[in-house]
Symmetry: C2
Subunit: 369 residues, 2 copies
């Protein structure tokens, strides 16, 4: 099969600003081209836009704005993991031979319509994501005898790491006491346990091995892909203390890459809420069930940025359509040893975990230098 590599990327600071979706998309694409003047735009034969925004025809619009006339141009939506869905779609266009080089641009505004899944009546009146997160948190705490303070460490760690990420929404650090004292939204969730929707954009350029080698000698390769949708409705989840779609996607990605979880050096997991980080780590196999928070505490205390080096969704902000792409850019920078103060030592193999709607669907990617 044709190898597919990440050859360039562009990203802008995540904010709470009001901007047009077309402008935000253009900004990260422009950042990509500004940083990589050696790229011939005529070689780009597909543009995919990842977003929950309701504007139509955004991929041809972006194409026109950046001066490209691609073969393939369309938008992709799957709530919070639209970004990695778009990356996998681009992978398949290249691996099948239909395209050689593809620009994927993800963008969202802070008023994204993807915040509430209206269809899911299994949630009753409690349609805001904090309600499924609250049930996950209660269930996880009860099953593994975990305290609110242990979960608060996720937010403390990720805010600390976000401070080293110039594009992160948050640039503040917090103590466990700060998290515990932040506004209580439900019995089990406090304000600082939540990632925040925001305005942001991230772009990434994928290419076939042949094309990639013309552009750079530091491509990062996508060697493993796993995806799974178990349901759309929250209450169809068979567990509220682990992520079934993540387990299946993680297993498939590692199998495809021919690696085991102990070989992974650096990881982006989808910490939409504090509880999601240990649950995702456990479902991926980094820790035994219920052991995620101990692992997180140890990493924090040893100043090890292995998990969510850019600050995760909690520290970086969560512009839905851009999140999976921003996660993939972070792992790419880590494997290229370009992550500056966030750099994880000797990072050779990385993993991206991106999910939607109470982990009813997940994507896992394995990246290698």
């Amino acid at each position: 099969m044709i190898k597919v590599g990440i050859v360039a990327y562009g990203i802008i600071p995540f904010t709470r600003d009001e901007q047009k979706i077309e402008s935000i998309l253009l900004k990260s694409a422009k950042n990509l081209f500004d940083n990589n003047p050696e790229i011939n735009r005529d070689d780009i034969d597909a543009i995919l836009v990842s977003t929950n925004n309701n504007s139509k025809y955004l991929a041809p619009i972006l194409s026109e704005m950046v001066g490209i006339q691609p073969k393939i141009a369309h938008s992709i939506e799957s709530l919070c993991n639209s970004g990695t869905n778009s990356i996998v779609s681009a992978y398949s266009y290249i691996a099948s031979g239909l395209a050689d080089m593809i620009l994927i641009s993800g963008a969202e505004r802070n008023d994204s319509p993807g915040q509430i899944l209206e269809w899911d009546n299994s949630r009753g009146e409690f349609k805001h994501p904090i309600f499924w997160a609250s049930i996950f948190t209660k269930s996880y705490k009860r099953k593994f005898s975990i305290s609110d303070e242990q979960l608060a460490m996720v937010s403390v760690k990720n805010h600390k790491q976000a401070k080293e990420n110039p594009n992160a929404l948050s640039q503040k650090t917090f103590t466990i006491r700060d998290v515990m004292n932040s506004k209580k939204l439900t019995d089990d969730i406090r304000m600082l346990d939540c990632s925040r929707p925001c305005t942001g954009s991230a772009s990434i350029l994928l290419a076939s091995e042949k094309m990639a080698k013309k552009i750079t000698d530091s491509s990062v390769w996508i060697t493993g892909i796993g995806q799974k949708t178990t349901s759309a409705g929250f209450t169809k989840n068979t567990s509220f203390s682990s992520m079934e779609s993540t387990k299946i996607a993680g297993y498939a990605a590692l199998k495809m890459a021919n690696h085991n979880i102990r070989e992974i050096d650096v990881v982006e997991v989808h910490d939409a809420f504090s509880v999601c980080e240990p649950m995702a780590l456990e479902s991926l196999g980094f820790s035994k069930s219920g052991g995620g928070t101990s692992m997180i505490k140890e990493l924090y205390e040893t100043n090890n940025f292995k998990i969510n080096p850019r600050g995760g969704l909690i520290g970086s902000g969560h512009p839905f359509g851009a999140t999976g792409i921003a996660q993939t850019i972070e792992i790419t920078q880590q494997l290229q040893s370009k992550a500056k103060n966030r750099q994880v030592d000797n990072a050779k193999i990385g993993l991206v975990h991106n999910m939607s709607a109470a982990a009813t669907s997940s994507t896992v990617l394995i990246l290698e230098k």
Copy 2:
């Protein structure tokens, strides 16, 4: 490369009814499964939804409704050619080996938000599609000395053919006089020159050769694919009397399939307005420039259903996200000799042409038995 075949399809009558988008999607998928009980749903590893609807997470929702837990699930939007963009994406997943069998369901409501491209300020206040169609019509008539009556024949032919299509929105026939006497919307466009947005859904199942052969011995194969986006804004078109994106996509699709245009037996072209049919036929190479209307008249007079046998968009209605899939189903039925009163004699090779936004983007598919 892995061969990709169409192994099943489902479609519902196109109407002006008010229905929930989730219900419409489910109906054509259910029709597909009802008509093909031999399909094991567990073998379906991706579900793609083609729509302009603003509802989110529709692919996982459809997955849950039909009882499938796919690997890949997301929505695709590219205005009026979302359907064929989805088919090509599915093709690439299968050809790359990431999936073996994919359900693609397209659906739209008659109040689709894809009717107006708000972004395109090059249209000034004239954002409704009838305005670009009006400029196309004026330009085409002037350049090739074509009369309103000659263009009206497109509508006469397509309404006649739609009468043999049980799923068509229109079941009436009209004379050239009827078209000429229908409400004048602009200097050059009358009501019966227009396709109408409507409520509709169409589903298609694609499979790898290995999987296809387990299910049916009458698969139709996708042997040629061409896609091109020249711009998003209407006024960037370099011609208003031909379709540049269609020329490029058509050439690429025929080249990939190793055929020439004279070998094509049956054709679906995107007749959003009367003028689009001769323009598309000319841009695809079926006729010399300006010769499309003569070809259409001759086919009508000899009762030859070769062009738009199901009645085109003008006769069938135009539920944007479903249109490209419905077109592909029609050609599949023709190649399988299952098109009943619409059947074109000895149809061995077919072509689908689907486009968006004043032909600023086009997809062309070549299908073979």
